[in-house]
């Protein structure tokens, strides 16, 4: 946090830097809203002028002469209303303009941030909790562009200030100099404010992220919380962070509470100071009273603009913090590089080659070491191994969710890293262990936007043994499944997820224990369907159940991230005691009892 606690001036500069980004991106809207603000300022002055004009030209003559022309009355009405309406136009232009600019910046930043989420590698995602990423895309973006709202007002009033200052200088140089001491004082107050609040603001934004993280996780695990009756503990966990956020917000608020009145009081103090110096100058004959009045009056005029600039500066610390947090997402690197090679198309199975593959997530703990095997087109290979032997890690490498540290994976002889974006997905489909469903219809979840006929969707559902329950859903394929498919059971979600892969007719299909939550009877039908459809696709299956393993032409036995044996199921059963122990666990148990 210490390095974030930049000095106040640095943070003011950074704040202007953030605004400059916005102005460069939206110059026209910015100009429009600033013009609106200037119009508003000018017409505020015009209002006083209209009152003066009406007094001199209509009201006083009318009272003196006892008569008034209807033209004069219309003129009063017209002038006042005209000024008021134009001023209203100014307000709408200023506020709507600022709003449009703010929301456009928010939207474009959110688009950029979410594009990063989609392009950054899996390792990056594993390091960043969901709640934090949601907070980056939401409250940090809001904080970053917060100062846009008061910006046009502040810029518009700067013009007013310049005019007032020029007039002050013309009236009396010495008094003007005294009055202008207000400005360094404003800067000093602002620097102190930025210095004091920056650290706390950073902490507050961090805590917002953490509060959102806890809420997200806790609601995600609502079922566990409920069934173990852990609501009080979860609430305590959330409350601890919420209360820390509260305390930090109160600290920020106290600093803000001192900043606003201090800034508002400065012009008043300046006026008093000018008066004090002015009186002595008038008495010594150095200046006349009229000039003192002018300077003092002008100084009161700039007091309001100074406040509106204060509002702008007050937003800076939070903005800078939010912007930095957003930048850290936007600046994250590690997108997967892609090549430009195209994958082979067609119905024939793909050939898979894995060459001396090595991968480790944790430097001390290799997950996969020196793996090598090939799968001929149309053949089926089963990956068998105990929990945590590296099977699932291998599937993430085969689908290029991560790149290997050593060695290579090649489909049809092409290294996965040389394929153009989207080419791999057109060839290889994976059905993961835990099915992830989108907040969409059944059809949307299966086609994922691809142009697939309903007949093909139904065919895939049939092979996945999901046609029965989908047909029974209230709106069939058009049924909304809800966020992450919560309305379905685990087995149903797995079968939708399987249909999603099948409908793509992948040339290489990878099943990562994809039917674990499905009833055996249903699973048997799925396996039969896969075999019958005989589409010729190459199949890699991670399996525990013998029926699944029995489908394979070759079995790779994994232990501790290495292939310890390979062959047909019968061969392995015959020669490898550890393999036999693994797959025969059920029978052995039965023999033992």
């Amino acid at each position: 946090m210490d390095d974030e606690r930049a000095d106040g001036r640095g943070s003011t500069r950074a704040g202007f830097g953030v605004l400059l980004v916005a102005i460069k991106r939206e110059p026209w809207i910015f100009t429009l809203s600033t013009l609106g603000s200037v119009l508003f300022g000018a017409l505020t002055v015009a209002d006083a002028w209209v009152l003066g004009w009406s007094t001199d030209h209509v009201v006083l003559p009318a009272f003196e002469s006892g008569e008034v022309g209807s033209g004069s009355l219309v003129a009063i009405l017209g002038l006042f209303l005209g000024v008021a309406i134009l001023r209203a136009v100014g307000i709408v232009a200023r506020r709507l303009g600022a709003g449009i600019m703010q929301y456009r910046m928010q939207a474009s930043t959110r688009r950029a941030v979410t594009r990063q989420y989609l392009s950054l590698p899996m390792e990056w995602h594993q390091r960043h909790p969901t709640g934090e990423l949601l907070s980056n895309a939401n409250s940090d973006v809001e904080a970053a562009w917060g100062p846009i709202a008061p910006l046009p007002m502040a810029v518009g009033t700067v013009a007013m200030m310049v005019i007032a200052v020029a007039q002050m200088l013309l009236a009396d140089l010495v008094l003007a100099a005294v009055g202008l001491l207000v400005f360094p004082a404003v800067i000093a107050v602002n620097v102190i404010y930025q210095q004091r609040s920056q650290g706390w603001m950073t902490r507050a934004q961090q805590l917002r992220g953490e509060v959102s993280e806890i809420a997200h996780e806790s609601f995600d695990g609502a079922m566990v919380v409920k069934t173990l009756g852990r609501e009080p503990e979860e609430t305590a966990r959330f409350a601890a962070k919420a209360q820390e956020l509260r305390d930090v917000n109160i600290r920020v608020g106290r600093i803000r509470a001192a900043f606003d009145p201090a800034l508002a009081a400065l012009p008043g103090l300046g006026v008093l100071f000018v008066l004090a110096v002015g009186v002595s100058r008038v008495l010594s004959g150095a200046t006349d009273a009229g000039d003192v009045v002018t300077v003092a009056y002008l100084l009161t005029i700039v007091s309001f603009p100074i406040r509106s600039i204060g509002w702008l500066l007050g937003e800076f610390p939070r903005s800078v913090v939010g912007y930095r947090r957003v930048r850290s997402v936007l600046g994250a690197t590690g997108e997967m590089p892609y090549g430009d090679r195209r994958a082979v198309r067609g119905d024939a199975g793909a050939r898979l080659d894995v060459e001396s593959l090595g991968y480790r997530y944790d430097p001390d703990q290799p997950l996969l070491e020196d793996l090598a095997f090939s799968v001929e087109p149309g053949r089926t290979v089963a990956l068998v191994g105990a929990t945590a032997s590296g099977k699932s890690t291998l599937t993430t490498l085969l689908t290029r969710l991560v790149d290997p540290d050593r060695g290579a994976v090649a489909v049809d002889g092409v290294d996965l890293r040389e394929l153009a974006p989207g080419e791999l997905a057109a060839t290889v489909s994976i059905v993961p262990q835990t099915a992830f469903l989108f907040d969409d219809t059944v059809r949307g979840n299966i086609t994922l936007g691809a142009d697939v006929s309903d007949a093909d969707v139904w065919a895939a559902l049939r092979t996945a043994q999901a046609d029965g329950f989908v047909a029974a859903l209230p709106s069939g394929l058009d049924t909304q499944l809800g966020e992450r498919g919560t309305s379905l059971s685990g087995g149903q979600r797995q079968r939708i997820s399987l249909a999603r892969a099948l409908v793509r007719r992948p040339r290489l299909l990878i099943l990562d224990d994809a039917t674990s939550a499905v009833d055996p009877e249903v699973e048997a039908r799925i396996l039969a369907g896969l075999r019958e459809s005989g589409s010729g696709s190459t199949l890699v299956v991670v399996a525990y159940r013998k029926a699944t393993i029995g489908l394979a032409d070759e079995v790779l036995h994994l232990e501790g991230g290495r292939i310890v044996d390979r062959g047909t199921h019968a061969e392995l059963l015959g020669r490898s005691p550890s393999y036999a122990r693994l797959v025969n666990a059920y029978e052995q148990e039965e023999v033992a009892t």
């Binding site: 209002d47 009355l73 995600d220």
Partner: protein, 598 residues
């Protein structure tokens, strides 16, 4: 049974504030003192310029040379006023920040707690992102309003009243003119507030939708990546972002327009005062000086009116956020804890009875019908049936995640609805299909089952479940970080943690929902043996998918299309040729077959 989260959108603005204060009583703390400070601060804002004005006009600018002593005295008064005003304003804002943040923190915490108290069904109808936004950004919106709006609005109304009284004192006719000119504004205020309120409700709702859309590629990163559907996912997010942007811009348009109306009314009032003033002057009711003085009074009226409308306008966003948080608290927690009247289950194995139980999701056909079932204390029962047969509903009714539509579930002869929440959760533990883990250490996740468990207790449990070698095999042992949702562990390992957790919780009724899927057979058998020990001395109900579990049970209950069709021991049921169970069993055996033959 209501299953939809209250959006809160029907609550009016005043009612929202009243309900909000009800839920955050801290907001009322010291409110009178703060109001007094607010009055001092806002009066001071008028007094200081007037003092300066007086100094300039009568002191320095006096015709015939400056009046030094007057200038000095007024200067002292102004300086003092400035000091008092600034201090009052500082003290007021400080107090407002303190009470608002305290009130909002407690609102946040209450809403969070209430989300957990909602029935599972209601929780599932609301998107996670939307729920999160209700306890985070929706609450944040309220803070600005409470500090820079709420009380100042009250002060503005006071200022408007005072200005009106002073105006009436000068000329009741002109005061009437001013009020008539503002009447359309006041009349349209309600209309605009409603428009604004609707517009901002849409905005707050869209924030929730947007967060949900953004959370998809974050949570489902692997699927999005492996299916190369980045473009489609981004398109969905972009749409949500664009909708939010449009809604926000639209609301801002209303805000700007409604705020600008005050200025037009002011212009009308100024013109009206002069015109009617001249007319009154002809009648001899008023002098030119009084008309001009009145014109200045109008500014005292206009200022607070504009301040008030601006606060009211800006408040709509805050109120929309506030409503959504209150909406959570207003959604009934259907599964009502009987509270102090709740019965406490005695320790020891539990006796279960289903009495004419029927369950249907709201608006749907019954998924369980006419279920009457007794499970003796200490028995091991497996519930078997095809996917969608209704067997998972058993688990949810037993653990009171849902209440039956008809009939009752009795534990030790007591209706579950009459058992105290703490006692129920202590005695009955569900191991769900996918054991959710928190992003913390293994130790913390296991201790979720029993918070005061020591490392020794955990080791003892692991020993009993035969998991010591697995635990020792982990490089960091109990300090292993499990990652988000436990994703650093394999699915099988996550289940081990869930089982350890359940073992530590030491329940009297253990409900397992497909807890044995996705574990390799070796591990599964090991757990199976451990579960035998775990089930010893307790009643257990297992929603079984692997018939090996059913084979080991004391009794098998077969569910088909929402009804119990068979019950008895595995060996008996499997022999009933043509029965549902016999068919399930045959397919299970044939599944094991091909590989064995090979």
């Amino acid at each position: 049974m209501s299953t939809v989260m209250d959006s809160g959108e029907e609550i009016g603005a005043i009612a929202t504030i009243r309900r909000g204060v009800h839920f955050s009583p801290e907001l009322k703390e010291g409110v009178w003192g703060t109001l007094a400070l607010a009055v001092v601060a806002s009066v001071g804002q008028v007094i200081v310029p007037i003092a300066v004005q007086q100094t300039l006009d009568r002191g320095l600018g006096r015709s015939g040379g400056p009046d030094v002593s007057f200038t000095v005295w007024m200067g002292v008064v102004a300086a003092f006023g400035l000091l008092v005003t600034s201090y009052a304003s500082y003290a007021m804002t400080r107090r407002l920040f303190t009470t608002s943040e305290r009130g909002l923190a407690s609102l946040r915490i209450k809403a969070f707690r209430h989300v957990h108290d909602l029935p599972l069904l209601t929780q599932n109808t609301e998107r996670r992102g939307a729920l999160v936004s209700r306890v985070t950004s929706d609450v944040d919106q309220v803070s600005q309003f409470l500090v820079f709006g709420g009380l100042l609005f009250v002060v503005s109304i006071g200022q408007v009243l005072i200005a009106t009284i002073v105006m009436l004192f000068y000329s009741w006719q002109l005061a009437l003119v001013v009020w008539l000119c503002f009447a359309p504004l006041f009349a349209s205020l309600r209309f605009f507030q409603r428009k604004l309120s609707d517009a901002y409700s849409v905005v707050r709702r869209q924030v929730g939708v947007m967060l949900s859309a953004i959370s998809e590629p974050v949570v489902g990163a692997a699927v999005v990546r492996s299916y190369a559907v980045e473009a489609r996912t981004q398109a969905r997010i972009d749409e949500a972002i664009a909708t939010h942007q449009q809604a926000s811009t639209r609301a801002q348009g209303f805000t700007a327009f409604s705020f600008s109306l005050g200025g037009v009314s002011a212009g009308l009032a100024n013109a009206g005062v002069l015109i009617v003033g001249i007319w009154l002057g002809f009648a001899g009711d008023i002098t030119a000086g009084e008309v001009l003085a009145f014109a200045f009074l109008v500014t005292l009226f206009v200022g607070p009116v504009q301040m008030g409308t601006q606060i009211l306008t800006d408040a709509q966003n805050a109120i929309a956020g506030w409503r959504r948080v209150i909406g959570i608290l207003d959604t009934p927690a259907d599964l009502v804890d009987p509270g102090p009247a709740g019965q406490v289950l005695p320790r020891g194995p539990i006796d279960v009875r289903f009495e004419d139980v029927e369950f249907a999701y709201p608006g749907g056909p019954p998924v369980l019908r006419d279920v009457t079932l007794d499970i003796e204390a200490g028995r091991r029962v497996a519930i078997v049936g095809e996917t969608g047969s209704g067997k998972s509903t058993f688990a949810k009714l037993l653990t009171r995640l849902m209440d039956p539509s008809q009939g009752a579930v009795l534990l030790d002869g007591v209706d579950v609805r009459e058992i105290g929440e703490v006692s129920l959760r202590r005695s009955v533990v569900l191991v769900p299909q996918e054991g959710f883990l928190f992003d913390d250490t293994l130790r913390a996740n296991v201790r979720y089952g029993r918070l005061d468990a020591t490392d020794d207790d955990i080791r003892a449990s692991a020993d009993e479940l035969g998991l010591t070698d697995w635990l020792d095999g982990l490089p960091r042992g109990l300090d292993t970080r499990v990652g988000q949702r436990g994703e650093s562990l394999s699915a099988g390992e996550r289940q081990l943690v869930a089982l350890l957790r359940a073992h530590l919780a030491d329940p009297d009724l253990l409900v397992l929902d497909e807890a044995t899927s996705a574990v390799d057979p070796q591990l599964e058998m090991r757990i199976g043996r451990a579960l035998e020990r775990l089930m010893g001395g307790r009643t257990s109900v297992t929603i079984a998918h692997r018939l090996s579990t059913a084979e080991g049970a004391d009794e098998v209950v077969v569910v088909d299309q929402g009804r119990v069709v068979q019950r008895g021991h595995h060996s008996v049921l499997a022999a009933e040729t043509g029965s549902v169970y016999a068919n399930l069993h045959r397919s299970w055996v044939s599944q094991q077959g091909p590989a064995l033959g090979g």
